[in-house]
């Protein structure tokens, strides 16, 4: 173990030297300057909150009218005659003549009036707070408490007292925006990691390492470590600047950093050209950002928000506590994905795999095949299914979150179809490769493999459901997606679907995978619809 770690640290040291040499010339001050500038400008931009748009509305204001300090309004002072002329010519959307607001006869002008109403209400409340005693300006207060009604409300200590006009909805936007700032350095570090590994692969320096007695796992861990530590330090520093708890931020963001690094590890291992790398990295960045940001927007409305670690960061910035279960719901899938990708990476980091030029889906299938122990195909098939669960879970959670935006019927149809495809691909991937490589060619072993794959999948699902927070595990859609039904029925169903797919592959040949998938998927979909009661037998 000591020797293992020692070698990994030696690789870490080598990576640091490589990075230092990469930026030893004129690029170092430029890069550092740009980095500082970006962080500064991003922070200022975040403070300005210009995200709602600038100069959307043209507003004319008389000299005794209100001052509009909001970037959405492009305000110009004009006399009433100029203002009315500007309105008639369509140069402005609204004219504010002292206390009168005169809009043009357009839809956009009506939006402008709506926006002005909210803005002016805020400024008016500020004026009243300044000009009048609080008891006169804000004569109504509301103590908020919950059922059952406490016996003596007046002395109730826990209640919150609010002024309705000053009561803000629990908008997590600002919190989410703040927490999202942490993602920039994580993605930048991930990008650096990808590029570095790609350069090493292109210049064949990785081949030199692979020819040495150092294992692939040591190489990968040694290379990941400096980026992980760097990202962690930056995240903690940002949390300190933004008023969070740096230690808690580290705990919250470690799964995110690990996940991003493991995904970005896979990109250079399967890439064929620079453009492949760019687009796949871009896709990974966007998909991960959406996965992290959008559930966090639901914070306060749905506990589904806790599938994203960003929600925990928002809670941290609001000084709210969160449970260990909420943390596990967010962190576990990401940490499991990290472990699986590191393992697969260590299996495919070899000359043979790296030098092959194949379509991306082929490279992914080969990666799964290489992750299997061919001396133990049955155990490997079981473990592949079990191991792919976090990925399936992540994809299904994204689908679930996305589906929340649509009417239930539409959401159900789309999510069920997508999840059926994802599940069947995950369960059959290993078996398909074993059939293609002629490791199995008889019906009985294929049926047995299908059973073990179904078993691995089911065990993985149940383990994840055990740690998920209630709202995730009990939502109607997840009941179907994550097969929260009776154990033996679910196992039998999984077995049947996978066996159909695998037997069709055996008979039709692996080239007809998509047709076999369509047949098994259709049966699986029908089963789900029956479980949901949409279709009755």
């Amino acid at each position: 173990m000591k020797a293992f770690l020692g070698t990994s640290l030696a690789i870490t040291n080598r990576e640091l030297t490589r990075l230092r040499s990469r930026f030893s010339d004129r690029s170092r001050p430029l890069v550092l300057g740009a980095l500082v500038l970006v962080l500064l400008v991003s922070y200022v931009s975040y403070r300005q909150q210009g995200i709602r748009g600038r100069a959307i509305y043209n507003v004319g204001v008389s000299s005794d009218g209100p001052t509009l300090n909001d970037p959405r309004f492009r305000a110009r002072t004009m006399s009433p005659s100029e203002g009315h002329a500007a309105l008639a010519e369509g140069r402005i959307d609204v004219y504010i003549d002292s206390a009168n607001v005169i809009p043009r006869d357009t839809e956009k002008a009506q939006y402008a009036v709506g926006a002005l109403r909210l803005y002016l209400e805020t400024t008016e409340l500020a004026r009243i707070a300044e000009d009048y005693p609080a008891s006169e300006g804000f004569p109504f207060r509301v103590g908020v408490t919950s059922f059952p009604i406490p016996e003596d409300l007046a002395t109730e200590r826990d209640k919150e007292v609010v002024v309705p006009s000053l009561m803000q909805p629990p908008m997590p936007f600002e919190g989410v925006l703040k927490a999202s700032l942490h993602l920039f350095p994580i993605f930048l570090v991930g990008m650096f990691f990808t590029s570095g590994l790609m350069e090493e692969r292109r210049e064949r320096r990785i081949s030199v390492l692979l020819a040495s007695p150092i294992s692939s796992l040591q190489i990968i861990l040694g290379k990941v470590l400096p980026y992980l530590l760097f990202a962690l330090v930056v995240v903690m520093a940002m949390a300190t600047v933004l008023g969070g708890n740096p230690l808690l931020a580290a705990i919250i963001f470690v799964p995110v950093i690990c996940f991003v690094l493991s995904v970005t590890l896979m990109v250079p291992l399967i890439y064929r050209s620079f453009m492949d790398t760019t687009f796949i990295s871009m896709f990974v960045t966007v998909a991960t950002t959406l996965y992290l940001v959008f559930p966090a927007m639901l914070l306060g409305f749905s506990d589904l928000a806790y599938i994203s670690p960003l929600s925990l960061a928002v809670e941290m910035y609001q000084d709210n506590a969160f449970s260990l279960r909420a943390y596990l719901t967010a962190a576990l899938p990401m940490l499991l994905m990290f472990s699986i990708f590191i393992y697969i990476g260590s299996r495919i980091l070899n000359e043979e795999y790296l030098s092959r030029h194949r379509p991306i889906y082929r490279k992914l299938a080969e990666a799964v095949y290489m992750a299997m122990d061919l001396r133990r195909p049955y155990l490997s098939t079981f473990l592949v299914s079990l191991g792919l669960i976090p990925m399936v879970y992540l994809i299904q959670l994204v689908a679930l979150t996305f589906a929340l935006n649509f009417p239930l019927r539409l959401a159900l149809g789309g999510v069920l179809a997508a999840s059926v495809v994802v599940e069947e691909v995950a369960k059959s991937g290993g078996i398909a490769m074993l059939i293609e490589e002629r490791r199995v060619n008889k019906v009985l072993p294929v049926v047995l493999l299908a059973f073990l794959s179904a078993l691995g999948f089911l065990i993985g699902e149940k383990l994840l459901l055990m740690v998920s927070i209630q709202s995730v595990s009990e939502s109607l859609l997840s009941a179907v997606l994550l097969n929260a039904g009776k154990l033996w029925i679910t196992l039998a169903a999984h077995w049947v679907f996978t066996a159909i797919l695998a037997l069709l592959l055996l008979w039709w040949g692996p080239r007809r995978y998509r047709y076999a998938l369509a047949v098994a998927g259709a049966v699986h979909l029908m089963y789900n619809l029956v479980v949901l009661g949409v279709v009755s037998l």
Binding site: Q48, G50, S146, I149
Partner: protein, 351 residues
Amino acid sequence: MSAAFRALLEREVRALIRERTILIAFAIQLFVASFSSTLLVGLISIYDPDSTQLTSQMRPRVGVVGEVDAAAAMAAVLAENDAQPRQFPSSAAVQVAFDAGELDAAILLPDTLNGADEVSEAELVLPASDTRATLLRMALRKPLKEYEERLRKENGIELRYANLQGLSSSTYEFQYGALIPLLLFFPGFVTGGIVIDTISEEMVNHTLETLWAGPLSLNTILGAKMTAALAVSLAQGLCWVALMGLNGIVVHRVPLVLAVSTLSATAIAIVSALITLLFHDRERGQFIYALFILLAASLSFMSDLSPVTLLTRLATGDPGVGLSAVLGYAALVGAMGWGLGKVSRRLVAAG
């Protein structure tokens, strides 16, 4: 357009089309657009303090307890705002009704209403469930505010501009201030990535020298590579405008909007080419490029002179901006292109 430039351009476009992973770029944008528009627009309508949508959808059943006139006044305000008020003689009766599932929330008013300088403190009782309580609290915010406004008026204080109506602006602002700029600038970000990849690939494989040794100048090579990437960007821009039209989002002055989008993509392509020539490798090139994009995006949301603001104003049909602003922007981009042409040879030679 010289024959050599045309031949090279055709080669680059063919290479891009052959590269099927470019479809991922389109998928990313579709992904972003569908997520943003559905989820964000949905969320904005919930969070919008101005929106009555929530109350009208929920129609919360609210029990009101208090002195007769005050309770009647509160019930009237609640009814005007799509809630379903029901008056009760005591808080115990409210509790019974809540336990029977007949109520969502309760408002307990003080026995005597305030005099001129007295603060009235009511109690809002909500279910224990956080999620439901949050939604009810937001749904009841508007009627409670109106009730407060009545009391404020009794104190002789009036909010000016309180009678303004208009339409809820959140969705409109999101569409024109965020969604349209995001969708029409994203192709530019993709362009920059393509330019860095194609140039650095030629540089590290030493094929740039081979191309350069022929009848082509370095600037012609760079121009052809950038033009091919820009063609992809323009095609994406056109797709987005068409898709938004199909979704009922009207983009005004489409030619000028597309011109700004393409000019921005050109500016990004020029900067990307410059970065690649300066650093010679993809690793540092893509890193600096990512920093540049972050910087440009942050600055764009801070200034009225930015292309994002220009595009927003054009897309909303603002008559205050037009061809002259776009031409000014084009002149700036042209100057950037001229600058790149001047330094390109020197930068490659320095490598």
